[in-house]
Symmetry: C2
Subunit: 404 residues, 2 copies
């Protein structure tokens, strides 16, 4: 098999951890597999480099910042390769240029456009492990770019897709995908597998095991991901296309704190006003999550949305300053909210799921401010103080402790 | 004018020093010049990275070591560029790949084969300062190489030659080329200019201001070097082709300690035996400096050579073990020697120079073990304890305090 393995910064933080990772790779090689490894920068290297640049210039150009940051992954790729050599494994490190990873030139947040894996394939043919510096690409004229947060996951999946790898193993300090955060829901269990769409919803809810862009890319290229811990030999969780999408299965429950609900009251029922509200917010770079529009009983609409607590003040000020433009009649704010979500493929076609979520909340006297649904998710905005109770209640209601 | 400037590791060691260097560059730009800058890694970065690799694998492949080390220069290039941006100077950093620096694939000690300055010229046209990571190249298939000790000087001179720059300024913590080490010879003066050949002899004698490979390259491409301090505004020393090679001018005196003289006695006067001696030493990777062969009065020859003190034991053992092969009659060793050299163009055609050197040594009762001469240099091997005395005596004998 051809396997791509990705190891995060905490997995390669020092020489002891490098030897741990190298011996895992050696085992995979000795089982007869071809292996391409993607590494992040060691431990706190990226933060250290960012601080160096801040000491000099808070407004340094993003091109130069990428030039600086990309060295972190190049270093860990070289060091891991030296560790493999020490274990007698033939290996070679590659930066983005050598690995043929072509990206857009959006420095600091570039997207992979294409991969030319010629050199990698050549080295694999000579039975070498290829260790690729993650998180980086080169643009059309050879500038170094970085792929933004979680970029090494994206590198790994993109390489797996380009190489038509049998699997893309993404190692971190978490041993797989759970039905809920085990620190909150004690009954939480690790899943054997989960679909791309379910994973996307869970990841966007704060289950930070896999980067969302990487999962999206895996879905698009139908690349099987396995999420596992680099510190244990336990089986991880497969993220892949599911065959039986009709089978309803609530696969997990996730919670997201620090949410504020803002409701603009009495907006005229004309989409122009809705557009105005959200373009004002966008201009100030305020991210909005849930948006709900309700028709009230006097011919106008109430528009509710959620923002992060850190953005709430700005959002409220902007709306207040523009009440005339929006022609709204009032503003209502609910602070200290949280979002609880149940995630599972096929939910949208099964009314029983929504009912189950509401039943669990009702049985525990949990008030609901907003509800939002997608193909694979149902979310409720509730008081933050009720979040743990709600997660446990939903987990129990759908017997998730019996999942795997 | 188009000027290439090179700044060493101590000149860019921290953010304060980076700002010092950046403002020097800004001045050069504001005088209307186009500037290409070559930087070394910051301060002790290279040593730090070497230690990281040694922690993991003492026998790491040189390719991987180069991949690791090259990040040091890429970092300082990016940081210096950010510093220039902070001062309002348009600038862009480049690694070897982007700067088109093609080298052999002798990892750890690669030689520059050619430079394709297309991208640099393009950026210069847009009035940008181009900051190039020194010390590195890429081989034919895109592997990163490093150029060995002093490699950044070589990068600077090679770029100056490829760009047909008007001058190549090499900045360090020393403000030019002196007639002798000022710590040894208090009368030592800084030279306004020196020829390539004189500089080559001085550099090989331990005046470590300029890397010898860089000077050789400058000579070959007739590139004018200026050696100056990045910490002062004093005029430095020009290294360039001299017009009047016939003018004898002893330009400097240099000293080299830690030398051992080995003499193989009674070798048959047949070059085969000489060959055997030095091929034995070469096989053990022992560098030999001065070699002198004298005919003795019984039809055989005595072959003397000097080695570094650290290599002496190995050299003596090898010769002793192979006395039969060499068919020599004995071995003589003089420990604790030093080499004193007077350097100046046109010396070889002027017997007065050699006479002056010997006179200075004789007047001070300094015993001479070996003498060796080149086009521009006369060296004498003496007792190490006499080195300072000898350097001062020769300096005075040729009135070097009046040079400039």
């Amino acid at each position: 098999m051809l396997i791509v393995q990705k190891y995060g910064g905490s997995s390669v933080a020092d020489s002891t951890k490098l030897f741990n990772v190298a011996s895992r790779i050696a085992n995979t090689v000795n089982e007869g597999n071809s292996v391409v490894v993607v590494v992040s920068a060691q431990g706190k290297t990226t933060d250290y480099l960012i601080n160096l640049s801040k000491e000099i210039n808070l407004d340094a150009s993003k091109r130069e910042l990428d030039m600086l940051l990309a060295t972190g992954e190049q270093q860990s790729a070289a060091l891991l390769t030296m560790t493999l050599e020490k274990l007698g494994i033939n290996a070679i490190s590659m930066n983005a240029y050598q690995a043929g990873i072509h990206s857009t030139n959006t420095f600091g947040n570039a997207k992979i456009k294409s991969i030319n894996p010629g050199r990698i394939l050549k080295e694999l043919e000579t039975r070498k492990v290829v260790v690729v510096a993650g998180f980086q690409g080169i643009d059309e004229i050879g500038n170094i770019t970085t792929l933004g947060r979680g970029g090494s996951d994206t590198t790994a999946v993109a390489l797996a897709a380009a190489l038509k790898a049998d699997r893309c193993d993404i190692y971190s300090d978490v041993d797989g995908i759970y039905t809920a955060d085990p620190r909150v829901v004690t009954d939480a269990v690790k899943l054997d597998s989960i679909s791309f769409d379910e994973m996307l919803e869970l990841a966007s809810m704060g289950a930070k095991v896999l980067n969302n862009r990487a999962v999206e890319l895996a879905k698009k290229s139908n690349t099987v991901i396995m999420s596992a811990s680099s510190f244990s030999d336990a089986m991880g969780t497969y993220v892949k296309d599911t065959e039986g999408l009709e089978d309803v299965n609530v696969k997990g429950v996730a919670g997201d704190k620090n949410i504020v609900v803002v409701t603009v009251l009495g907006v005229k029922a004309n989409s122009m006003y809705i557009y105005k509200i959200f373009s004002l917010l966008a201009r100030e770079n305020i991210s909005v999550d849930v948006i709900v529009q309700c028709t009230n009983n006097v011919g106008t609409v109430d528009v509710s949305f959620t923002v992060k607590r850190t953005d709430a003040k700005d959002a409220i000020n902007i709306i207040n300053e523009n009440m005339n433009k929006i022609e709204a009649t009032g503003l209502k704010v609910v602070e200290n909210c949280a979002k609880v979500s149940a995630v599972g493929a096929g939910m949208v076609n099964n009314p029983g799921v929504a009912a189950g979520v509401f039943e669990a909340l009702y049985e525990n006297n949990i008030n609901i401010y907003l509800v939002s649904t997608s193909e694979v998710k149902i979310s409720a905005i509730i008081d933050e103080s009720n979040l743990e109770l709600a997660m446990n209640a939903i987990h129990k209601k759908f017997n998730m402790e019996n999942l795997h």
